[in-house]
């Protein structure tokens, strides 16, 4: 029993609810939500420490023994993601302070933001398949509202598509849960794993697992990413950034959880399919990234590419591939938020998101420019920044699994990523300066702090990768050994 797990959910939840009660006090909103996220960061740090010293932590909500109640489980994988989520959320929140505007602030922006984070935390923590659905919904419905918050035309239009596709995928999720319940008769993931391991993964179970690939693939933007480009470029920067950083990652997390814990018996079917979808994602995403010449769209397609790469590590289903994926996942959350924040800042400065209309920003905004440069390198996996290690290991993992095409495409697309982000850098920051400071539409005042924070994180995670590796190793080991998880949840003697 470890009640710290639930605190992660409760703190943002309660803060959000209290903020609803005090609707008018914007300053209080800011302070309270920042404080809540700081506290959750600290708790996630504590959790990491606890998992490292004491192994996987679990909490049986309501005190009901494992397969019957809802279990909360934190292993190193989720703990790392929790910490990253907290940090990234904190940074994006800081960006929102100066950029989101008072109308949105007065209309529950901060509570909704906190609920979104709550949903994400919940998804990372829960050990129960149905509860995962519920946490997904908390996250999704907050994202619906955040996406449409403000009600501009483009927001409304994209919200409709986004909601529709997500509603359907949620339905499919429930369908999958229903089938699985019929076949295996339980909802607890550890119990599911134990039961399936007991009788083997037969045809029906494999088929149901493919349904889960589709469901989580929809959330993770794995191949079925059509909803993503529109909806990520519609909302204001801070929201777009947190979406880019978190939403797909939750789907990815779910894929990792289910396909390392439950459906790992037939990798030649399930994981191969994941690999194929990963390749398709990377290729299509890369084409999308180089196709367009407006900042937001380039960046959104970059989100897609990285999903493919991360899943490639899972598809390899090897220790090293998974290690790489975990590294890359953490990196990706940070870097996508960073890129979106900088991209949004450029757009708000210049008032346009078309490349080529405004050039030479580096003369007036050198720091912004260089941070974008670092981010651009980092997102393409250029060493020694944070994306490098993950990419190398994912490549190695896929090669070891014999999926040379997978790793090869991963490497090639990172060149296309580089091309696409450098296109932004070279067009927006280089060239003749044609926008004097007086003509600028926006300002970088007050929004630089989160950008600097995230930039430092990506550099530190690259240069100081060693600091994270022991944890990643634990995480990968646990993912590759479902028994660890099962023991932590069900107790060591309950493999029935």
């Amino acid at each position: 029993m470890n009640n710290a797990l639930i605190l992660l959910i409760i703190i943002p939840l309660i803060t959000g609810m209290v903020l609803i009660i005090f609707r008018k006090k914007i300053v209080f909103h800011r302070v309270a939500s920042a404080a809540a996220l700081l506290v959750t960061s600290i708790i996630s740090l504590i959790l990491i420490y606890q998992v490292k010293t004491k192994g996987i932590q679990s909490l049986q909500l309501g005190g009901w023994e494992a397969p019957f109640g809802i279990s909360f489980v934190v292993d190193m994988f989720s703990a790392l993601l929790l910490l990253t989520t907290s940090l990234v959320a904190f940074a994006c929140l800081g960006y929102a302070f100066r950029s989101i505007g008072t109308e949105r602030e007065a209309n529950y922006f901060y509570p909704l933001y906190l609920f979104l984070i709550t949903g994400v935390y919940g998804s990372f923590l829960t050990g129960d398949l149905f509860n995962l659905f519920v946490c997904f919904e908390v996250m999704l419905i907050s994202s619906y509202v955040l996406l449409s918050l403000g009600g501009t035309k483009i927001q409304l239009r994209e919200s409709i598509k986004y909601i529709l596709i997500n509603v359907l995928s949620s339905s499919l999720f429930l369908v999958g849960i229903a089938y699985l319940y019929a076949v295996v008769g339980t909802l607890n993931m550890a119990h599911l794993s134990a039961r399936i391991a007991e009788v083997g993964q037969d045809g029906v179970t494999t088929t149901v697992s493919l349904l889960f690939i589709i469901v989580f693939g929809l959330k993770a933007a794995l191949f079925l990413f059509y909803w993503l480009p529109g909806s990520y470029s519609a909302p204001p920067t801070a929201i777009g950034a947190i979406f880019a950083a978190l939403l797909t990652k939750v789907g990815i997390y779910a894929l990792f959880r289910t396909f390392t814990l439950i459906f790992y018996h037939e990798p030649q079917i399930t994981h191969l399919l994941l690999g194929i979808m990963g390749v398709a994602t990377m290729v299509l995403g890369a084409f999308g990234a180089i196709a367009f010449s407006d900042i937001k769209r380039i960046l959104t397609y970059n989100v897609i590419i990285s999903v493919g790469l991360i899943i490639a590590g899972l598809a390899s289903y090897s220790l090293i591939g998974i290690t790489g994926s975990i590294n890359y996942l953490v990196h990706d959350m940070i870097i996508k938020a960073l890129l979106f924040l900088i991209g949004g800042t450029i757009i708000s400065l210049t008032g346009t998101d078309k490349l080529g209309e405004v050039t030479g920003l580096i003369r007036t905004h050198p720091y912004l420019g260089w941070m974008f440069f670092i981010a651009a390198l980092s997102v393409s996996g250029i060493p020694p920044l944070s994306g490098f290690l993950g990419k190398v290991f994912i490549t190695k993992g896929t090669f070891e699994a014999g999926y040379y095409w997978l790793g090869g495409v991963g490497l090639m697309t990172s060149l296309m990523v580089l091309y696409s982000v450098m296109k932004i850098f070279m067009n927006a920051f280089w060239g003749e300066t044609n926008l004097s400071q007086e003509m600028e539409k926006g300002t970088t005042k007050g929004v630089m702090f989160p950008i600097v924070l995230l930039t430092m994180l990506t550099v530190l995670l690259g240069v100081g990768a060693e600091a994270m590796q022991p944890y990643v190793k634990i995480a990968a080991d646990d993912l590759m050994n479902p028994l660890h998880y099962i023991h932590a949840v069900l107790g060591s003697n309950s493999l029935q």
């Binding site: 519920v134 409304l156 909601i163 509603v167």
Partner: protein
């Protein structure tokens, strides 16, 4: 009964999918609702339709129907309702702002 239910559920899914694929926004939302019904029935069916008593203790029933799927469906219904409400209001707002409910006119690549 399970077979009959499975077929019914399949029907509901087909109808819902068909509606979702049409162009009118309101029909699309109707479609998601129908799919929602299909999902609920599916969970119930997959929980097994054994004909015990209702899951209320204290009666003279000796066996009870599986209560867990019922609880799940309850949660699902509520969530589905919340999402549908939001979706509907969004559709309403979009219509007022964008002056159309035709999804084909909401593609939105031309005006950018």
């Amino acid at each position: 009964m399970e077979t009959l239910m499975a077929i019914t559920i399949g029907f509901l899914f087909s109808l819902g999918t068909y509606l979702v694929l049409t162009k009118s926004l309101i029909r699309i939302i109707l479609g998601t609702s129908i799919i929602g019904h299909g999902v609920n029935l599916l969970i119930l069916t997959m929980g097994g339709l054994k004909t015990g008593g209702p899951p209320l203790l204290g009666g003279e029933d000796l066996s009870y129907t599986d209560a867990l799927p019922q609880a799940l469906i309850l949660t699902a219904i509520v969530i589905n309702f919340a999402v549908t409400a939001l979706f509907l209001v969004l559709a309403y707002r979009s219509y007022k702002t964008l002056r159309t409910d035709d999804m084909e006119q909401l593609r939105g690549y031309e005006d950018e």
